[in-house]
Amino acid sequence: MQTIEHHFQGQHENEQIIRIIHRHWFDILSNLLIVFALSFALIGSLLLAPLFLGEFLTPATQGAFLFIETTMFIFLWLYAFLIWIDYYFDVWIITNERIVNIEQKGLFTRRTSELRFDRVQDVTSSVNGFLPTILNFGDVFVQTAAEEERFIFRQVPDPIAIKDEIMRLSRDSMSDDMRHMASAFHKDAPSPNA
């Protein structure tokens, strides 16, 4: 079994991380487009201002212009990292015991939920649309045994592989349970020679 040298809060002692899943890169790219567009606009205005506004630019207005530019760059840099935090810390962790979903919304909302493999009943993957089909990303729905909400992996890369991995781990977990039950039964059952 391939394991990853990472660690998350609440990880059990012998629990091994099998896979860490973030949303597809297209998701963060679409969020960062506004940052890229504004950065290009700022750099462009910085380069083109002397050409077009040459006669209006006194040392005083030039200083004010530069001050506004750097202030905008600081805002963009902070905003880009807020988007990054929302993306990078919104994560699904598949371990040998369970699935852990850490949901990060902005800076102040963080929700962690988990699902053990023995609770998994059904796993479905869904790829909808032109770009998701081309880039191979979509959703994975994990139906649990109880009347709980479904576990949803949103906009993840290669959803079919993730679905297969969860199904495999769920099957392994069930066969482990069956083995434990069988060994417990054999231990408790009276010996035929007795």
Binding site: E5, H6, F8, G63, I74, W77, L107
Partner: protein, 73 residues
Amino acid sequence: MRPLFGLLYTFLFLSYSITALFVVFHLLRYSLSRTSAIFMTSLFLLVLIVLLFSNAIIFFSLPLDLIFPQSSL
């Protein structure tokens, strides 16, 4: 006029700094690997410090009396 702009700039600077502190806290506290936490925090702080430093230098060299000559602030 300069004290008022100074006050406004201090407020702006504090806003940047508090947001940056929260970002650094998240990067260090919730990263799944130590290496990526250190890399992301270093990149974030390096660029931010350069930007903040140049922003402060430009602000303090602004000839505010020339930019707002008739203001009574």
